[in-house]
Symmetry: C2
Subunit: 346 residues, 2 copies
């Protein structure tokens, strides 16, 4: 039985959803893939860390955080090592980078991943920062070191986008991507279209958890720009950052505009776009008026869509319907299973 | 350099689209996968056959069929072997089964595939008959013989459905499938909704190539039932045939019903469904009234959709937009690439 040790950086909702899948499916992974997956370390910013290179008690770690809000300082595995120290010093096989997003730099997640790759460890991340800001460099490092680097969750939770293109659209060249990838703005635009006013929508959205305490990153299109950068960096080799995305948010959209669009049989959606202009890959985020009968118009609430056009397979779309945190956990889990399959073959 | 020899049964539009991809991408397959793909045989019903176990001239075969309507009898590789004889006697590695569909039996495609599998040859098919009528048996045979058996194209051309679940939704259990999978009925329902009458729609559809000379298999839901059977046989282990699908076509749908639905903000679509009822996998095809704002309502013309619900990843959908015959060719090609990748790893 092969052993695979994880160092998990970040143990928020996504990290815990992933850990629950590991506990639930550990036996099946041993049976199907002949691989025993263990957690060698978990790092958090404010809940302490756990390190045990023989494999720590994941069920207890989950229980402690969910019941007491932090790891148990009396635990023999309790540690004060930081995320970066764990990435650099602990003996593990796969770094699972789930720290919070720093949308304007991608740090410290980029450095965590570089540290792992430089030690010839595989890396999986659910953090779009590194993919939006430093993808080419990280991929080059992973290739040079001969290790896996997966990041399915960064654009549409566990819905296959990157793995889809890699595993099922082999030899296709992506020529265009389009999508609705920010559910906060999608929610706000829908509610405005129902006749509510802006402040009311924001207030309700915060109460229902769709809108962040500071909604400006969503409303000004930064989150959508980071996802667009990630998409076109990976699928079209753009080599750009979110700053280079031609970005316009929904902050200037008025109820009048929405009503005028509706009178024309249209809706306004915040559209992410990547394409080739004058031989160069470009990315754009902006509100666009689209027909109500268009596929994109049917993407409601927290659902999302990516439409991919390729040279050999025409245009296909993938839609994720109303995801929860379990879908993010599954995205990380599916990257781990992909890694297990790939390394099993090598 | 590894060699992989194909026996291609059927050389209609899909077969030729596949052959063009092989010619166009042969060099790239050699470079990327270290594999030299050759056609050892091509069988047709009325255009003659070609056999050359060292590899025949695919470019000439294409040219002859497209320019002269049949293979060249003066060609040294020309042969009068039938499809079944080629499946049984020629030295090849992969059977590529592209013969015309026999929707009420799946034959002779099932026997072609069995013959290949019994000789420990891999099989790829674009023919939904075998998957709708004999999937469990064929898969069991392929597993027993330790060979690959792929059939991506049978439900939605080259759009990943089966490969998607296998390669990107690992360990997920499919609990429900839903789709719009027959473009003829989708076209007819749309045209009726525009106010045209039935006979006019059928006449126009035939002229535009959307409607077959005998449209009854589409209109009565048999094509949709065969695709539903294929979907739930593969994804949910149903082990059923198209006859066991609870099937109702669009033959009784009137313009009045469509107009009444429209007045309620709805459209009528022919919906394929697979789910679990009383512990048993069941399949259903029937016209259903759905909201105009529903994702399924936006599937227009020849586009199609499959919505898959799983235990671990919630609900995702895949949409194919306006496919042409190239997409069918790519589906077969992508199965071949998958086979090359898998056998390379073993």
């Amino acid at each position: 039985m092969r052993e695979l040790k994880l160092a998990i950086l970040g143990f928020g909702n996504a990290g815990r959803a992933f850990a629950k899948l590991l506990l639930e499916k550990g036996e099946e992974i041993r049976t199907v893939y002949g691989c025993d997956v263990k957690a060698a370390a978990i790092a958090t910013g404010s809940r302490g860390s756990l390190v045990n290179e023989e494999g720590l008690d994941l069920a207890k770690a989950l229980r402690d955080v969910e019941e007491r809000g932090r790891f148990d300082e009396g635990d023999a595995d309790f540690s004060r090592l930081t995320s970066m120290e764990i990435a650099g010093w602990v003996a593990y096989d796969v770094l699972v980078e789930l720290t919070p997003l720093a949308i304007f730099s991608g740090q410290p997640a980029i450095d965590h991943i570089k540290t792992a790759l430089s030690r010839k460890k595989h890396a999986i991340t659910a953090n779009k920062g590194p993919i939006a800001w430093a993808f080419s460099e990280l991929r080059a490092m992973a290739r040079e070191q001969g290790v896996g680097f997966y990041f399915e969750t960064t654009v549409m939770d566990g819905t296959p986008v990157f793995n889809l293109v890699d595993e099922t659209l082999r030899m296709c060249k992506v020529t265009e991507v389009k999508g609705i990838l920010n559910s906060t703005t999608n929610f706000i635009l829908e509610e405005l279209a129902c006749g509510k006013d802006y402040d009311e929508v924001i207030r309700e959205g915060k109460a229902r958890g769709f809108v962040e305490a500071d909604p400006s990153l969503d409303i000004e299109g930064w989150d959508a720009a980071a996802k667009t950068a990630a998409l076109i960096n990976v699928l079209m080799g753009a080599g750009i950052t979110p700053k280079e995305i031609d970005r316009k948010g929904i902050e200037d959209i008025t109820r009048d505009q929405i009503e005028e669009a509706a009178a024309r049989g249209n809706v306004i959606k915040l559209i992410c776009y990547g394409g080739i202009e004058a031989g160069k890959v470009i990315g754009r985020v902006r509100p666009e008026e689209i027909s109500k009968s268009d596929l994109l118009a049917s993407i409601a609430g927290t659902s999302s869509i990516v439409t991919i056009t390729t040279d050999l397979m025409g245009t296909i779309s993938v839609v994720e319907e109303d995801p929860g945190i379990e879908q993010t956990g599954y995205g990380v889990f599916s990257d781990l299973l992909r890694l297990i399959c790939k390394t099993h073959c090598e």
